[in-house]
């Protein structure tokens, strides 16, 4: 808890209590006030009426990770709180706010030593026509954070304005004002000395960011099958694709969605699908076809707990092996992972560019934490120059779709191009595309598909590297945000730490990976899965230069920054 000027708040409640809406309004209000923040979500398995929790962290600078504990937990009721207790670590300085009329504070919460305070949330809400307890609670938090009634009103309009019911807005505002008066805190508002940002910031979820990255790369066709936690990306894409002249088609299953985007891409339209583990498993055969037929496609895999149906609503980074090695045959392709919520824009945009340029498959590994969390952040980096696939326009003589070229990339003829007719094939083929089982054709086409990736200059975006020293932490995807915060804390403790967050997982740029490890004597690989999938991959690739160890733990619990600090300190101490 030693990162200055940040505050962590969690809100829980049973179905219909409005925990998520409360969090959305608070995030908007803090954004309006000139601060930064993230908000992640956790929910039970129910379709409707299920309990849910929002975990928020605010700061006067960009934050991408959660802290080790929460300053305040606001429980709108105590129902099923045990489902979230592990995900909301409290300590003896935490404040536990609850409703006076909801009964005693459950032992599972008081065990942490957190100070409980019961407030008349329900009673006060009852005195206002259409009043709701969550809005009283929101007022309490607003006062503690130093948010004005004006700002709260504006945020309220933005989140609930679509309901077009004046009474809802007015009664909610009346509740918030009541809550602000109720403030049980003696200290001045927490944000008094925080710096207010004048920067124009974004409020975006990882799923929205991934969708935006796709559109920016030129994706104009999406086919997909609904799956948690990827559906919000599809729901954002559907209306927005239509607005810019593209289309989204809901397929009958993932076998269909992957093949539909292969068809669209064969037709010359950059195409993408989004899914989660079970869907990615079903798509593997189709992805192999895209590799063999050299048809560009992008899959955004928003990981959840596995194996099998696993935990659909919670995060884990356990699909890496599938994305890297799930194909039958040798199938060179690209695997990437965003480094934080807003980086989903850049990474998906880059993935689509690479797929188009290299005429192959790119899989982007997001997860529930990245996808369903929102962040108030400075605008993301983007790729400004357009990247297009190499096509044949003027064809003289006999067109050879799979012509052997120096780069391994052969110009693709798009239907509609005169004299460019060919049949794309998943069977091994010769340079024209005619099926062939001859050894010579297999070897030359395999080499072509390998070399086009091998000889390509992926540039500097393959990883984000920060920090000096002889200790390196190598990590990927959503958990890397916690690692970067842990590294900051280690540096404050005098332990120089370098963090290498790998964005391009396959093909792994070995040369750059080695130079990134120059001077490193010890290396720890951190990831959120049981078996250390990245660690074993890097070992197998001989990509780790020094004495290395693995810190791998399955989801859904986050790896908290101080946990990592303690682990690293022990490693360093015991040599």
């Amino acid at each position: 808890m030693n990162n200055p000027n940040t505050v962590s708040i969690a809100i829980t409640g049973s179905g219909g209590s409005g925990a998520v809406t409360t969090g959305m309004i608070l995030l908007k209000a803090m954004a309006q006030a000139g601060f930064y923040g993230i908000m992640s979500r956790s929910s039970g398995p129910q379709i409707r009426g299920g309990e849910s929790a929002v975990m928020m962290r605010f700061a006067d600078h960009e934050v991408h990770s959660h802290d080790d504990g929460f300053h305040i937990l606001l429980c709108l009721d105590w129902l099923k709180i045990e489902r979230f207790a592990d995900e909301i670590p409290l300590h003896d300085k935490s404040l536990l706010l609850g409703d006076r009329d909801a009964g005693e504070i459950p032992d599972i919460l008081t065990a942490s030593g957190a100070q409980g305070q019961l407030l008349p949330l329900k009673k006060l809400a009852g005195e206002i026509e259409g009043g709701r307890s969550n809005m009283i609670g929101l007022g309490v938090l607003a006062e503690w954070l130093g948010l004005s009634a004006d700002i709260m009103n504006k945020a309220l309009q933005e989140v609930l304005g679509h309901k077009k019911d004046r009474l809802i807005i007015e009664s909610s505002m009346a509740c918030i004002e009541q809550g602000m008066k109720l403030s049980p805190f003696s200290a001045p508002p927490l944000t008094t000395d925080w710096q207010i940002s004048q920067a124009r910031r974004w409020n975006i979820s990882g799923n929205e960011a991934a969708g935006l990255g796709a559109l920016k790369a030129g994706v104009r066709f999406v086919a997909a099958y609904p799956i948690t936690p990827a559906s919000e990306m599809l729901e954002w894409l559907s209306p927005n694709l239509e607005k810019i002249g593209g289309a989204l088609l809901q397929a009958e299953d993932e076998l269909s969605s992957i093949n539909m985007i292969i068809g669209a891409s064969f037709g010359g339209v950059p195409a993408l699908t989004a899914t989660s583990g079970p869907g990615l498993s079903l798509m593997m055969e189709g992805l192999g076809l895209a590799v063999a037929s050299e048809t560009p496609v992008v899959v955004v895999n928003v990981m959840r707990g596995g194996p099998s149906t696993g935990i659909p609503t919670k995060s884990e980074q356990a699909d890496l092996n599938l994305a890297l090695f799930g194909f039958h045959g040798d199938a060179p392709h690209i695997v990437l992972a965003p480094t934080d919520i807003k980086d989903s824009v850049f990474t998906v945009q880059w993935a689509s560019c690479l797929a188009e340029q290299l005429q192959t498959v790119a899989i982007v590994m997001s997860d529930q934490f990245l996808g369903q969390s929102r962040a108030v952040v400075n605008p993301p980096q983007v790729i400004s120059q357009p990247c297009q696939r190499i096509t044949s326009s003027a064809i003289d003589g006999r067109y050879q779709r799979y012509e052997l070229t120096e780069s391994g990339i052969s110009p693709m003829s798009i239907p509609g191009t005169p004299r460019g007719m060919y049949t794309a094939d998943g069977l091994e083929h010769d340079a024209r595309g005619t099926p062939s089982s001859m050894a010579q054709d297999h070897l030359s086409q395999m080499a072509k598909r390998r070399d086009k990736l091998l000889h390509f200059d992926f540039g500097k975006h393959w990883a984000e590297i920060e920090g000096e020293g002889d200790l390196a932490i190598v990590t990927w995807g959503s958990i890397s945000a916690m690692v970067r915060e842990a590294a900051q804390r280690l540096r404050l403790k005098g332990i120089k730490t370098r963090v290498i967050t790998i964005r391009l997982l396959m093909p792994l740029p070995l040369k750059q990976m080695k130079s990134a490890q120059q001077g490193i004597k010890r290396c720890i690989v951190v990831e959120q899965n049981q078996s250390g999938q990245l660690y074993h991959y890097l070992k197998g690739m001989e990509a780790l230069e020094s004495h290395s160890s693995s810190f791998a733990r399955p989801g859904p619990l986050l790896i908290r920054p101080d946990e990592l600090v303690t682990f690293v300190e022990q490693q360093v101490k015991h040599g």
């Binding site: 397929a251 009958e252 269909s256």
Partner: protein
């Protein structure tokens, strides 16, 4: 007369791998005849298939083609047509490909009713894997894989296409290319999902199918516009009647509209 379009113009120089006497030759020549009759633009036509003997067909045509995965011809065709509504899209394959491993896609392609044509060359057997029973095989047909027959009633392609929402349902016979050509022309002209089940004998694994030519006949009436009438004709039939049994104007799935905004404007929505 350079303008005269001939069926052979649509043939590629790749030689079919099919056995002598295979019904699929008749389907291939009916397709090229239909293309020539319609004077289809080579570059504006795409033929998509799955895996199996008949699925080799796209490579034998001088149009764009995709020889994809076993059972997945229809999804590739749907994605292509959705992205490129300007193209004439035809999907083709066999009974195992379309009715077994691709069965779910068949139902939903009928339902979506996108403007494309689907030609299934049905020989009641898996030929490429050398003689296993398919979904349309009779229950008592003995094979190495099912020595006593499968004991399972055959799949009813026309009834299923009709009940799933296809707007053009027909049966043809590979041994009568003149009639089959006309069916394919009608199917391509039909604005919606057109399904043609083609009886296409397999002389290698089902030599008894050589007798089909003595059993096929034309449906007495023209296409029924009413699905109840069409269903009753299909269910009363022994599977040997050919022609269009059902045709109606059902709304076809179409991709969205003209752009109404820009990505830059969408991005503005993310500002705090």
């Amino acid at each position: 007369m350079a303008d005269i379009v001939k069926p052979k113009d649509y043939k590629s120089d790749t030689r079919p791998i099919w056995c002598p006497g295979c019904g699929d030759y008749g389907v291939l020549s009916s397709i090229t005849r239909a293309f020539a009759f319609l004077k289809l633009s080579h570059e504006q036509t795409a033929v998509v298939s799955g895996i199996g003997c008949s699925s080799r067909l796209p490579a034998y045509l001088d149009t764009y083609g995709f020889h994809g995965l076993h059972g997945r011809a229809l999804p590739i065709a749907a994605g292509l047509k959705a992205a490129r509504p300007d193209l004439t899209v035809i999907a083709a394959g066999g009974d195992g490909d379309g009715y077994s491993i691709g069965g779910n896609h068949f139902l939903h392609a009928c339902r979506r009713n996108m403007d494309m044509t689907y030609i299934v060359m049905d020989n009641n057997v898996y030929g490429m894997t050398k003689g296993q029973p398919s979904p349309t095989t009779a229950p008592d047909w003995p094979s190495k894989l099912a020595p006593h027959g499968t004991g399972i009633r055959p799949f009813q392609p026309l009834a299923i296409a009709l009940s799933s929402g296809a707007s053009f349902v027909a049966r043809g016979f590979a041994g009568d290319p003149a009639k089959l050509t006309r069916l394919i022309v009608e199917a391509i002209n039909h604005p919606g999902f057109s399904f043609i089940e083609v009886l296409s004998p397999c002389p290698t694994f089902r030599p008894e199918q050589k007798e089909w030519k003595h059993h096929v006949r034309q449906w007495q009436d023209g296409p029924a516009p009413d699905p109840v009438e069409a269903a009753s004709r299909i269910h009363a039939d022994d599977g040997m009647s050919t022609g269009i049994v059902y045709q109606s104007e059902l709304p076809a799935w179409q991709p969205g509209s003209e752009p109404s905004t820009t990505i830059e404007k969408l991005e503005q929505g993310f500002y705090v």
